[in-house]
């Protein structure tokens, strides 16, 4: 597979994952805010903003309308849902020949439907509905990708992009909920916020099946970090990254493949052997930061080994 094509597939997939994550968080947040006190809603918005943009929000109150616009439809905002979709589509357009018609048309239609949306037009109805519909389209896109593309090298680059992105997005979301507030205020998550966190990760029902409906932060952390079967746990994503790495660049020199696989193995060990009780006594922030760093390192090495390598090194 052309290195450039692998590059575009990988980023297309990362951006789709980011867009889907944003859409789900927005949908859940907008649906849940009516059940919160203004103070709790503001604290919750601050966590959402930080999880989605990396920006620490210190404003005393959060305007839902403006925040939604910024996170979803602000074309100038690099972290907005619409920007992610646009980037995904730009990448897809560059590798049309590596995608099926169905994948391209699903993505293109979704973008064309969302690009002209204005806040005023959705705010008069139920704003969350638009995000729910977008999520349905994204699930359709995921299904079409799974069932119309050959599960060859290109597909595994899509997997790599999706799960490297997902692990980091989950890491950020867990971080803002578990590490305690940075501004020294008393806005620690309450019972309802833990429920919402599970829903942000589409994890509520799978969680209750395993741990019953008793909502306990430590169990939530354990589930979202270490569950091997739930698709939105960090461990699940790490396993997919490890699997995918074994399937890409089959003809690359062994030393190059080994460099990436070693890093993936180390990351896998971190989550396979992590102990939740050790983390809950204040170590979770450091642990999550380490996971993020390892993901970034895998990304860099992946690029150096298969995508941006110097031609002189293989001649």
């Amino acid at each position: 597979m052309l290195s450039r094509v692998a590059d575009s597939l990988y980023w297309m997939s990362r951006y789709i994952e980011r867009a889907e994550h944003t859409a789900r968080v927005m949908a859940v947040k907008l649906e849940s805010m009516i059940e919160q006190t203004p103070e709790d809603a503001t604290a919750s918005w601050a966590r959402v903003i930080e999880a989605l943009t990396g920006e620490l929000s210190l404003e005393p109150s959060q305007d839902a309308f403006l925040t939604t616009r910024k996170l979803a439809f602000d074309h100038e905002n690099g972290a907005a849902l619409i920007t992610s979709l646009s980037m995904a589509r730009d990448n897809a357009r560059q590798v049309r020949e590596a995608l099926s018609n169905e994948v391209w048309e699903n993505l293109n239609r979704l973008y064309l439907r969302l690009a002209p949306v204005t806040m005023d037009s959705i705010w008069v109805h139920t704003p969350a509905r638009l995000f729910r519909e977008a999520l349905e389209d994204m699930h359709a896109l995921e299904g079409v990708t799974y069932s119309t593309l050959s599960h060859g090298e290109g597909w595994y680059f899509l997997e790599l992009g999706k799960h490297i992105e997902r692990a980091q997005l989950l890491g950020r979301l867990l971080d803002v909920h578990f590490r305690g507030p940075r501004d020294g205020s008393q806005n620690t998550p309450k019972y309802f916020d833990w429920l919402v966190l599970l829903k942000f990760c589409t994890a509520f029902e799978p969680y209750t099946k395993l741990y019953t409906a008793s909502i306990r932060p430590q169990k939530i952390a354990e589930f979202l970090l270490f569950d091997p079967e739930f698709p939105h746990s960090i461990r699940y994503s790490v396993d997919r990254v490890t699997d995918a790495l074994a399937r890409v660049a089959p003809g690359a020199p062994p030393a190059r493949r080994a460099a990436v696989e070693r890093l993936a193995g180390r990351l896998k060990a971190s989550v396979d052997f992590g102990q939740i009780d050790e983390l809950m006594s204040g170590a979770i922030a450091g642990f999550l930061a380490d996971i993020t760093r390892q993901c970034e390192k895998i990304h860099e090495t992946l690029y150096a080994s298969f995508i941006t390598y110097g031609a002189e090194t293989v001649l």
Binding site: M1, L2, S3, R4, A6, D90, R93, Q94, R96, E97, S100, N101, E102, W104, E105, N108, R109, L112, E153, V248, A249, P250, G251, A252, P253, F306, I307, A311, V314, L315
Partner: protein, 525 residues
């Protein structure tokens, strides 16, 4: 209540096998027009009188659908009766469906204004243009003859120059052309085929005869729109389509692949790539489409590198050799070491690899010398010279100002002629006599006299008109015809073409950059 038992799959059901082969190129195959049973005509809708043709003007130009007395020509009767019996809203709905389909497939180009980029589709018209079997047979023979002569001409001017020594074509015209590539002299090309992919522009004149307006021998585009138009027109009028014995064109990518394969010196495992300038090129959709349909790699210059005169692609697993390149970038940009050194689109060293015979490039470099406006005027003579045959398809009458008698005629009839500078394109250095003022004509006459070699003149030509949907009815719009000719070890012309449409009323400009659209072309079997 008893639950329904789950059933394993019983014996394979006898499905009706209808051929879906023609449909596979595009994602959705749903008809836009329901069953679309062609109705028998209850009355004849007259152009200029009855809906939806109230504003259908029959002028001096030949009309594809209506004869001068306003009755539909024989090949168009089925389509005409379908159009006349459908309500305007239904036509409008089908037109919208065609446009939606283009939008979703990404058959668009980007327009930049006020710092905002907006995407527009390449306009498509839902009514097919029809070419009869007899007309097509002549076109096919004429274009085959033409491409043979042009390839013999290119081989000649890049080797002995016999045609120049014999005084058939002036030496200065060839060696002075900016498209003549000295680097190509004495370089053999496979099968002597310099032009492997050609798109010739034909028009139908007032007498109803097809004549050649232009040969595009460099990197002609539009073939993907030919296929995309077929897809939407067939879905807009499925019943009419089925009843008319339209010849298929979906084999084009296969034929192109076979042509490219035939250029390689061996037969097994030929590695082929389509070289595109990238996603910002207006024809990018086509490049990606062709690569996908042929199942070959789509590459940009930065994906390729040359080592020891061998061309490789950079892949995730390392370097992979390339044998044949279908390049969709101009000569000038192919190799910065030989041609334009500021080219970021090309591949340094590509030309040397080509010269060494390690990679084949289609079309060959330097083909542009044979499609400029002056050489065009010589094509009929080239056909006689190389093939000892009379041209089957005529040229548009062309006066070469370098010839004394022609010059006299041009200067005496400037008010009736279109004068074009030979080396220019895109409307530069051009005089449209009937629309110019006396002063402008006099000024231009001086230019011609001072450098007659640089000018040719042609009568103003009325392109034929064809029915086109305009929103509130069906009107006549001018059209041309671009068939695509493939030439490797053999010559192949897929029975179809891109029909370009000048969407503005009265306009003769069919270029998509200037408000042109396109429509499907049905060649009947």
């Amino acid at each position: 209540m008893e639950a329904a038992a789950n059933q394993p799959l019983a014996g394979t059901p006898r499905a009706r096998h209808t051929s879906r082969m023609q449909h596979e190129a595009f994602a959705s195959t749903e008809d836009f027009g329901g069953t679309d049973i062609a109705a028998s005509p209850t009355r004849q809708a007259r152009p200029g009188q009855d809906a939806p043709y109230q504003h259908y003007a029959l002028g001096a130009a030949y009309d594809e659908m209506f004869a001068t007395d306003g009755t539909a020509r024989a090949p168009y009767t089925t389509l005409d009766s379908r159009i006349s019996t459908l309500p305007l809203e239904e036509l409008n709905r089908r037109q919208q469906a065609c446009e939606q389909s283009f939008l979703h497939q990404g058959i668009t180009f980007t327009v930049y204004s006020d710092n905002r980029a907006t995407e527009r589709i390449i306009p498509t018209d839902l009514f097919p243009r029809i070419v009869t079997a007899t007309e097509w047979e002549r076109i096919e023979r004429g274009l085959t003859q033409r491409i043979l002569a042009l390839n013999l001409f290119l081989r000649d001017i890049y080797s002995d120059g016999r045609v120049l020594k014999d005084g058939v074509v002036p030496r200065s015209m060839i060696y002075g052309s900016k498209h003549y590539r000295r680097e190509m002299r004495g370089l053999p090309v496979p099968h002597g085929a310099y032009v492997n992919i050609c798109g010739s522009d034909l028009i139908r004149n007032e007498r109803g005869a097809f004549v050649v307006l232009e040969d595009n021998l460099r990197v002609p585009s539009g073939v993907s729109y030919m296929l995309a138009n077929r897809d939407v027109a067939r879905r807009a009028f499925p019943g009419v389509f089925r009843s008319m014995n339209v010849r298929p064109i979906e084999q084009y990518p296969l034929e192109l692949l076979a042509t490219l394969r035939s250029l390689a010196p061996f037969h097994d495992d030929v590695s082929i790539a389509v070289l595109t300038p990238g996603v910002f090129n207006s024809a990018y959709f086509e490049h990606a489409f062709l690569a996908r349909q042929m199942g070959v790699e789509l590459v940009e210059g930065r994906d390729l590198l040359v080592n020891d005169n061998v061309v490789y692609t950079r892949t995730t697993s390392g370097l992979k050799r390339v044998d044949v390149i279908y390049r969709r970038i101009d000569d000038d940009f192919v190799d910065p070491l030989i041609f334009r050194e500021d080219s970021a689109l090309g591949v340094p060293g590509l030309f040397n690899a080509y010269r060494a015979g390690n990679v084949m490039i289609a079309n060959a470099l330097g083909t542009g010398v044979a499609d400029d406006k002056a050489v065009y005027a010589y094509v009929p003579r080239l056909i006689r010279y190389y093939l000892s045959e009379e041209p089957i398809l005529e040229n548009v009458e062309t006066f070469l100002c370098r010839e004394e008698k022609a010059l006299e005629h041009v200067l005496a009839n400037l008010d009736k002629l279109v004068v074009k500078a030979v080396g220019e394109s895109g409307g530069y250095g051009m005089l449209v006599g009937p629309h110019a003022s006396k002063a402008e004509r006099e000024e231009f006459a001086e230019k011609i006299k001072s450098d007659p070699d640089n000018y040719i003149a042609q009568p103003t030509i009325q392109l034929s008109t064809a029915p086109t949907f305009v929103g509130n009815g069906v009107e006549a719009r001018h059209v041309d015809l671009r068939p695509f000719i493939l030439h490797g070890s053999e010559t192949k012309i897929v029975p179809g073409a891109l029909t370009r449409v000048a969407l503005k009323r009265g306009s003769l400009v069919v270029n998509s950059s200037q408000g042109g659209g396109s429509k499907d072309t049905w060649v009947l079997g």
